[in-house]
Assembly symmetry: C2
Homo-oligomer: 140 residues x 2
DNA sequence: CTTGCACCTCTAGTCGCTAGAGCATGTAGG
DNA sequence: CCTACATGCTCTAGCGACTAGAGGTGCAAG
């Protein structure tokens, strides 16, 4: 019960084994203590930290931002203004990405609908790609 | 007028100079003829190909798919079934990505709204990240 | 005691570029 | 013709965030 191996840590946190080692190598996760046979031995706090990282990565935060968020978490007396700023910036990114993907979706739909399933020289997919003037959505 | 330099090709196609050389190196664009002084000299057809590539990249197609699409374009007698399949697959990807980004957006909004602008230990941003159980959107 | 999985380190590869070093070439003005 | 200076050339290395593989060690069950 005492010793959490890297495999258990992976199962409990949802972060893959090589990724855990990678996070250690870039200093996102502190190097844990080692067993007699040089195997990593994690504490419950490490698992929580890994879960935090994983969730943040799933939300699309980059490692630099996560580093800041973790530093804030480690010092709960601090103002959460930075955390708020990071989350807000990410929100704006996500909103922009959604908008651009919607435009893209519309363009792809036109392409797919316009495909007559015949020969390439009548195919709207190729045609739209070849001539951007035919693209009605000025997303780029 | 005859010789299009790589710089002109870049300006006309919207693909950056180093990127053009990169596309040549991976075989996406054929190596053009060279001037006396070993400088690349492009034809209008190359510019069209670069514009095609650029548009496809903007639509998020990966290089492997673009290779297939270009091969199809080069042989207009072929059935456009593959082009259709590639575009459809990309459309499904985009739709999934939009769905997941919408869930993500909702989660980020909760985080940002819940931030009391006080100390970190009351901040919902950090809290939600630390405990995925508090995340109401089962997007992952 | 042996089998076999989990763990270790280290290097290299992925994708689609981008940046930089250190040269050669092409062009416009004086 | 000479000089600047932009643009071109090749080559190597770096980015982010992992992922894969080689080649070796640790450990628990049968």
């Amino acid at each position: 019960m005492r010793k959490i191996t890297i495999g258990d840590a992976a199962r409990q946190s949802g972060v893959k084994v090589p990724t855990i080692r990678y996070y250690e190598s870039i200093g996102l996760l502190a190097a844990p203590s080692r067993s007699e046979g040089n195997q990593r031995s994690y504490e419950p706090a490490d698992i929580r930290r890994l879960a935090f990282i994983r969730h943040a990565r799933e939300l699309g935060f980059e490692v630099g931002s996560i580093r800041t968020l973790l530093a804030l978490q480690d010092d709960p007396d601090q103002s959460c203004a930075s955390a708020d700023a990071i989350a807000k910036a990410r929100l704006i990114e996500v909103e922009q990405r959604i908008r651009s993907l919607m435009a893209l979706k519309a363009e792809l739909e036109i392409m797919v609908e316009g495909c007559g399933h015949g020969r390439v020289d009548q195919c709207r997919v190729i045609e739209v790609l070849a001539d951007h003037g035919q693209c009605m959505h000025p997303h780029h």
